[in-house]
Amino acid sequence: MNTLVELSSVSYKYDNIIALENISLTIKEGELILLTGPNGCGKSTLFKLLNGLVFPSSGKYFFAGQEITPKLLKDNLSAKKFHQQIGYVFQNPDLQLFNPTVYDEIAFGPRQMQFDEDKIRERTDSLLCFLHIEHLRDRVPYHLSGGEKKKVSIAAVLALNPDIIMMDEPLNGLDKKARKWVENFIIDFSAAGKTMLIASHEEEIFTMQNRRTVQLDENHQLVL
C-alpha cells in the first residue's frame, strides 16, 4: 500500500505556545485512523498542518511523496491539486459553509476544479441523494440544524472526491441520531477502501475493527 501522509519529527508553535511537539506519523492508503487526546492537545492544529493551512516550525511533512512547503502551495496549480486530495471536515460547520445555498455549497469545489456545469450538477445531485438531503437543496446553509449542517459539510468535501477524509470532532454538538449517522458514514466509507483520519476525544465511541488509534498527550506529543 502507498504511503499517503508522512510526518517526520514535526513541531508547531503558535507564537510561543507549543501546539505540536516532535510528531512522527505515517498514514497509508485505506487506513482508518482515530486521533485521540484531551482538549487542547493539538488535534485541530495537526489537521491544519496536514491541510497546508499552517506549516511545521520544524520537521517535514510529505503528502503522497511530495514535501508540502509554503513555496509549493504558492503555486496555484499545485495548491489546487494538493487541496483536492484532502477532504477536511471542520469541527464547526458554520465556518466551513459560506455559500448562499446548499447546492452551491456542494458545487463550490467542483466549480473551482472547473468541471462543466452538467458534470457539476450530476455530482451534486448524486451527493444530495446519497446523504438524503435533497430537500435541503435550495436552503441557506447557516440556517440548517446541526446535523444537517454536518451532512452538508461532508457532502461539500466529498464533492472534491478526495483521497483522504479528515474529520475534526465529527460528533460534537450532534444529537443521538446524527451521531449514529456519522458513525455509520465512517464505517461505510472506510469499508469502501477510503482513507480516513478522525479526531475525537471520545475514543470509546469509535469501535470499528480495522481502526488504528493514535494518541496525543497533554505535552502535545504522540503516545507510543
Binding site: 491544519k48 458554520d94 457539476i120 441557506v140 472534491l160 505535552n219
Partner: protein, 280 residues
Amino acid sequence: MEQIKQHKFLLPEKNNKLPVWLTQNDNYNPCRDRDHFIDKTLLALTGKLTLLKNQPAMATDSFFSASFKLICTIVLILLISLSHRLMFPLIVLAVFLTYLACLDSRRISSILKPVSAAMFFSLCIVLPAFISGQQNTLMLPLKVFLTTMSAAFLAQRTAFSALTKALGGLHVPGLFIMVLDLTLKYIILLGNTAADLLIALRLRSIGKNDRKYKSMGSIMGMVFLKANEYSIDTHNAMLCRCFTGDYHVSQKHRLESRYFIYMAIILTMIVVFLYAEEYL
C-alpha cells in the same frame, strides 16, 4: 518538570469540594435599574436579524427569474430618472399603487416604511426650492418614491442569494458576488453572536450596572474578534476546497420561451416611456 505539566490539567484534590457559600441561599433583593438600554439594543438587533433570516427561499421556481426582475428594475429606475414630464412617473405610480393594493398589510407596511422615509427626506431637501417658487422640483420626491419603491418590490419578491446569482448572469465578476454573499453570511453569524452576548449580559444584569455602555463596548469588541476569527477560518475552508483567488461561478443560459415574454415586458416599458415623453 513533568509534575508541573500534569498539574495544569488536574485540579488539586482539595479544591474539588464546593465552596460553602455555594451550598446556601443568598436571599438577594435586587435594586431597581433601568434595563431599557440593553432591551432596546437587543430588540433592534434581533428584529433586524429575523428580517434577514425570514427571507423567502430561492425564488427560482417562479415564472419570472431573478435576473429578469433585476434587469427590469434597473431599466425601470433608469426610465424614471430620465423622464422629464410628469406623465411617465404617474403611469408607474398608478401601476405600483394597484400592485400594492393587492398585497397583504404586513407586506405593504414593510415596503412603504423605507420608501416613505426616503421620500420625506428628499421632500425636505427640495422644500426650500419649492417655497421659493420652483414648481417642478416636486418631481424629485416623486422619482425618489418610485425608484425606492421598485427596489423595495425587488427585495420583497426575491431572495438575496437569488439576486447575487442574477448578478452573475449579468457578468458581474464572481469575486464581487462572493463578497456580497459572504457579507450576508457574516451579518447573520455575527449578529447571532452579538445577540447571544447581549442575552448573556441581560441574564447576568441582575443587579445595578452603571456601566452599560462599557459592557456594550466589550460586546462590540468581542464581536470584532469573532469576526476576525471567522474570516480566517472561512478563508481556510475555501482554500481547502481548491479556492486559489479566482472564483468560478456557474453561468449557463438556455434560451427559453419565457425570455420572449420578458423581452416583451421590457419593450412595453420602454415604449410607454417614449410615448409618455412624447418622443413617439
